[in-house]
Symmetry: C2
Subunit: 298 residues, 2 copies
Amino acid sequence: MIERLAIIGVGLIGGSLARALRGAGAVGEIIGCGRSAQNLELACDLGVIDDCSRDPAEAVAGADMVFLAVPLGAVRGVFERIQGQLRADAVMTDGGSVKGSVVADAAAVFGEVPARLVPGHPIAGTEHSGVAASFPELYHNRRVILTPLPQTDAAALARVRAMWETAGAVVTEMDVAHHDHVLAATSHLPHMLAFGLVDLLARRQDNDEIFRYAAGGFRDFTRIASSNPVMWRDICLANADALSDMLARFGEEMTHLAETIRRRDADHLLDIFFRAKTARDSYVDGVSVPKPDSSTPQ
Amino acid sequence: MIERLAIIGVGLIGGSLARALRGAGAVGEIIGCGRSAQNLELACDLGVIDDCSRDPAEAVAGADMVFLAVPLGAVRGVFERIQGQLRADAVMTDGGSVKGSVVADAAAVFGEVPARLVPGHPIAGTEHSGVAASFPELYHNRRVILTPLPQTDAAALARVRAMWETAGAVVTEMDVAHHDHVLAATSHLPHMLAFGLVDLLARRQDNDEIFRYAAGGFRDFTRIASSNPVMWRDICLANADALSDMLARFGEEMTHLAETIRRRDADHLLDIFFRAKTARDSYVDGVSVPKPDSSTPQ
């Protein structure tokens, strides 16, 4: 049970956690904090939060649990503002899509990463933003990755885990660097491809006609290109090395695929498409993706 | 009204047209043709077709409308088989995703493109294949592009247009080469990116973990990677020049984006993501995508 939960950033992620914990009767009071007075007012009107402040220092006063759900570029500023304002037993966690930058920001502001800060990442979301887009089921059966450090307090870790499980999530733990590498591949790279494709087409003079004849698959494929640009700028900056490596590698793959098509190498094309379909169908069916055999190009 | 409709290839595309026309009472008898006896039997059992043959020559006998819905690589073989077997007044059309190759195949087999052949392309589909995946509403409010040639018979064109409108589609006409260029951008390129991404991840030794942590957006983004590999191999071969050009260009874009991320160019990243989000939101809302201004990189 959380007595007083401070949510810094009451958008899709923060708002959905508040709704889920409230629905489960797992929280006493919820204080919301954000830069937009209008969004905070809406959050109050919707009953997502009980009270609010635009000052993080004020919002965290007396809270036994603090959840940061702000764009990664705003994390350091929040840490600076709440330094020295937390209850001694307060547990802090976050929802950032990159963990290395959160840990580095914490070390820079607090001198070392506090034992009661449990870096975390709920693998959930939609392309919509703001508290109006939040809903209590967002985390049902979705994974939350926690990336504790050697100095992380075991009781704090247990409290954060319990909080997410109450919201319906499946919690796993992972090393900070490994998390950022895995997410570069599964989330950050696909977002770059979707943004990149839509931008490439939007920059054409015939863009209106191009989009008019976009097929049904295009709508699904590009859904993530409607995501929050500021959030994604921050993710790129926070995970720049892992992401730029993946992206450069993908660029080479596409150059290679273009060559394969140009020379009309039918067998090679069929290999790629079959391998991809098999992996994607396995993923959707919830069965293990086949291990690559030794003859598969890495 | 169609007296006798021959559908060569009773899968998602052919089966859905049969169901739509049957539902509208716009067809007398429907003869299905395909290589899989099992699929044809299922099509009969489902009432999608009235009778079937595994021989295209037999299937088209007496038909006043013939619809080819086979992978592009099979089109030429069908043309060869049905040459001289068609009723004098039979109208023929197809559902191939590339029109240049269909026209070239027709010219090669028939000496010139027949006046009663109306090349067409319904911009509709799902990632599923086979008659079991077909449904009568597939074409509702979806675009069908017809690409008549100078020699195309006006009455044949009007019959094909009426057939698709009966199935609920919005029909437009376009030049063959223009169609193939537009579709390379809006459909063929996105499929390559989805196949390419899933294949890249599937080839990693840690692929099982990678897919386990794939986010919700990944499922939508990669849906089209579950498409029929043979169909897509054929599309690549049939539209090789336009598609490989687009893909090479996209590869360069991604290499450039990787560089932008590596040098942490925050403003440039925000520009790209905002432009993409604006275009994608406009597309979904059904409003015109903003024209690129003269300062936008082409």
